[in-house]
Symmetry: C2
Subunit: 724 residues, 2 copies
Amino acid sequence: MLHNRISLISMMFLLFLAAVSIWADEGMWPLYDLGKLPLGSLRMRGLTLNQEQIYTPKGGGIADAVIEVGAGSGSFISSNGLIITNHHVAFQAIQQQSRVDKNYIRDGFYAASFDQELPAVGYYAHVTLSMEDVTAKVKAVLKDKMSDIERYKAVEKITKKIIKDAEKGRDVECEVSKMFGGMQYILYNYLKIKDVRIVYVPPYAIGNFGGDIDNWIWPRHTGDFSFLRAYVSPDGSTADYSTENVPYHPEIYFPISSQGIKEGDFTMIMGFPGYTDRYASSYDLDNLINHEYPLDIRTYEDELAIFNEAGARDSSVAIRLAETVSGINNTLKNSYGMMEGFKKADILNTKRTTEQQLTRFLEENPELLKEYGGVLPQLDSLHREKRLTQDRDFALEHLRYGSDFYYMAYRIYRWASEKEKPDIERDPDYQNRDSASTHETLENMQINLVPETDKKILKYFLKKALDLPPDQKIATLENIFSGKQGDERDQLIDRFLDSLYTHTAIGNLEKRLTMFNMPLKQLENLNDPLLGFAKALKPDMDAMRERGKRFSGAENRLTPKLIAAYTEWKKGNLYPDANGSMRFNYGFIKGYNPRDAVRYNWLTGLNGVMEKETGKDPFIVPQELKQAHLTRDFGSYIDPSINDIPVDFLSTNDGTGGNSGSPCLNGKGEIIGLVFDGNYESISMDYLFNPNIVRSIQVDIRYVLFLIDRVYHLDALRKELTIH
Amino acid sequence: MLHNRISLISMMFLLFLAAVSIWADEGMWPLYDLGKLPLGSLRMRGLTLNQEQIYTPKGGGIADAVIEVGAGSGSFISSNGLIITNHHVAFQAIQQQSRVDKNYIRDGFYAASFDQELPAVGYYAHVTLSMEDVTAKVKAVLKDKMSDIERYKAVEKITKKIIKDAEKGRDVECEVSKMFGGMQYILYNYLKIKDVRIVYVPPYAIGNFGGDIDNWIWPRHTGDFSFLRAYVSPDGSTADYSTENVPYHPEIYFPISSQGIKEGDFTMIMGFPGYTDRYASSYDLDNLINHEYPLDIRTYEDELAIFNEAGARDSSVAIRLAETVSGINNTLKNSYGMMEGFKKADILNTKRTTEQQLTRFLEENPELLKEYGGVLPQLDSLHREKRLTQDRDFALEHLRYGSDFYYMAYRIYRWASEKEKPDIERDPDYQNRDSASTHETLENMQINLVPETDKKILKYFLKKALDLPPDQKIATLENIFSGKQGDERDQLIDRFLDSLYTHTAIGNLEKRLTMFNMPLKQLENLNDPLLGFAKALKPDMDAMRERGKRFSGAENRLTPKLIAAYTEWKKGNLYPDANGSMRFNYGFIKGYNPRDAVRYNWLTGLNGVMEKETGKDPFIVPQELKQAHLTRDFGSYIDPSINDIPVDFLSTNDGTGGNSGSPCLNGKGEIIGLVFDGNYESISMDYLFNPNIVRSIQVDIRYVLFLIDRVYHLDALRKELTIH
């Protein structure tokens, strides 16, 4: 009997393990929710830390060493504020410092001592100091009978107040993160380090090996890493760049593991994933799949054609457009992957089935039905309503963001308009606290301005806007180009744009920055035609934003209810969608089968780098690396499973954009790699997670060590690391 | 001591095995050379047959069931002459029978009884009756002091005589195959079965699944099989199609294995591989890699652009050009793969190193040096000489074959010219025995003629010929278009071609076939302008052929010596290059690693078919197959290693074009699959064999059985098979 009981218990235990692993190997969890994870069973699967060693509000968990940096994530790896992140996260910093005679982009950059480090202009490091649940404060201002727009504005107002109160008199930057579409609100307090410097960036041929071609694709061979350093003023407070500043001393920083990894090993990732929408309704997905993505793809393809044509005619233009073109290519590849993923996973029907099951569940529970039964139909009509103005809103959005010139005029005019109001009443992004970053944006845009190409882009979007269906026309534009068709309209648009671009001063950096500081009246008196065009379109833009706010207010009303219904049905802990706040997730090192009869190994090697070499960007192999490959000067960095220098590896970790640069940790909390991409087959996981196919792509830290030790001999850098 | 001795013997034995497997898993061996293979050790690796059971001159070996059919290979699988081969080998037969109202291409075709079988027009089945070494007869007419052209002509003459003598009064077709570049000559006697009929062809969506996109590519999901039947006259002699004919009764035919296969299993392939050149000198390869392939690729790309443009403007033209376009695509993909393979395997330097080693070996053996030392330098100067006229020869070759109209005129005019000579003195292909097949070619070409497009092709090649370097100009063309340049020349060419195409009768089927039967005088009196153009170019074409013959004569003198030198050096049995004669080779079922971190499984499955489905050609899945997939009505055909219906599999067998349709056999001599392709990564193996990467692609016979049994229920066909 005893024997049987043991068997039964073992079996139940195994079942429990299996259930846990199916359920919980998914999700990007807020740090304060770690308790919802099966940490006990994870310790049997490779985790050696307890919850407090990962994160505790008191401080001292390894999560404290994870930071937001640039547009990605990073982590501290020395007591002197040394940061490791991706090459592509640090790229703009090195681009900004690169000159014709000092081609740091191509050659890489290394500061062998503190005083040689260069400022990473425009880079900040956000260190999470604390997080606080402010749901009650937000909910206190909401009433059931509020209209959707009232609801939106009430949330916006209280959020701004919470932030203002929290930032008052403290060296912090605050943010209120909406969780579960508004079920919960969390106040994050960050230390915003403003003096970030470049320590080491590898040659472009290593840091961007594979480029756009390999982007999102496994097998990958990119050395996507860089080293930065955080500086603060001598008194420890944050400060702008100054030679007086001293390295920041984080209390917690990560050691690095040189011990190697193998398939099946436990992994953890912490970082700042940007956006997922896994609770999206089928109505939302229907619109995304059948309308928004196809329209986006067409638009980006058209833009790309304009940029490519301009670049083909003039190589100096090509250089200035390179970053934009690369960005569009990245977005397009992502969108293609998204569409393929939607189709392959039959994501719309899957969601519809789930919703039908949810509805059946509610119907079997009259009280729940009463509470939640109306949510899905209401989401349906909400999205039907959205469709009525969607094409117009899309056109206005793209008018606003498509052309650099128009965008700057729009931003400056709106800034002056918002400034007329008291700070607390302004739209977010237009408060005094946003002044410095807006100024910086308006300044940095100068570097890539190409007026002739920009004019073509604006023309493209104007024509798209004029071609809207009759019931979605934009009144202002119809008035300007009234009744003209075909070639005649074309000529009118050309004359209009020629005049705008000839007479506007917005392309002049100095004048633009002066405009940015002007009060509305003075700005209007300039009679700048592009500012005038922005003013003319303001009512349409305002109306679009207002529609967006009303829609947001409605979602804020409905989504928490939908998620509450799911929680009732699933009886499990759910995780909130990614929203740019810090998250924890775990997984295992694992290859995958992308398609029938094809198996991807979990690890790539230096041989693969050599295989891909063409001698042309993005497949150049630097001489030093070739030499090391030839002589097999691999030291202890060789991976026995491939008998080669490890380059990149896969794990089953959940993640999304914003996670770039996140440390990938072993069960002891040592860095084994840096997240830098997800695999193509799982791009659509932002909407549906599939554990068989979702993989996070990391650069293996042994590749980093091999490069700085054996290939480039960066002794000072290597000595600063804590290598286990 | 005894113990030690056993160990030593075991070890030696293992070493022997290893050595054998490195050495001999390569090569397409003539059947009479089976004795050179390590059959003893192969019996330990899975072979259960002895040499006589595979092939014996007395007859009765399984090789007797292997035939040449269409442009590929096939085998007998019933006592009633049932043949199994590839869909793409039988394709032209089904195309010829397809009508708008009977779309056999799209829907497939099945004859449930003998009387429903349709003629496979233009198809022959060649059954190898015997082979005889005629080296002595050929060598008897050769003298050391002969010039190269004399040597060529002497070989041609004696070969024709041997064939004539052998065919005289017998129901056979004969061929003399040159082995090792002329070291050996083998007379093959074939029974040429002229009445071949279509029994079953699957729908195009199965037989051509993946089309040009998947061509050469693994993983593959093509059901590339068809069933034909051989008929002879009631007295057993070969005869043209007649309702009086009866099924041919082969003495040997293959059973089919439904027992399944697994990785590592022994495999044998017999068929008619067309062409390899593994003893090519580095001078030859240099020219191929740096001149011929790049020029070919450019030319085919240009031709393709012309065809595609024509097809885009008129879909009926597109249909008529489809086969040509598909052929060019296939050639181009092959050429790209060839170039990639040349580069990846660094084939030129590899060969140069080998030749340096050979030279060193000869230098260490003065007697051998005396005998063979001059061979490589002589091959070098031979290829230097070839380069002097190579561009002109290339232009002439393409003039001849590029345009259908010109080709037909060329062929008819030359036929009439050759007919002036006694039969035995004519060029091969222009003897009386070639009359029927030439007539057939001239007839069949009618179906795909597109005069307007053909004119563009001829213009393209004319311009190319006129653009030849000054020292390689073609005198006849220079005279016609003398001194004209640019637009002026263009207009002259247009006028010239307009006149040719307007006034020639060559495009008229009836008139063309009448021309074919005319004596030279009568033909010339027609004053057909295209025949006139062919006549004008005849001296240039004759000179080109003469240069080719001289080059061939020189190769015939040098290559056997080169191979003899290799034989001395390697002290091993060498196999002759593929040349269209029947060959045997063996291998093992095995996946491979195409590149770093990617593993290809040896077997694909029905799931993979569904994964690739797009609903558009070439990725359509017929409804019946979808249904069987959905209901998993798999019977016993499921493969346990993938828990799915097996579709295609890989083996390490050597092979090349012409092997298509060959039976792939297990160690017992039962059919387990049909060869239909090689993998992209090994295309360059025609010049260098690499056992790590060379794979033959087979359709799994279980997929064939599943389709005829579970999906299409072809009971009569299934019952005719001997299934083990």
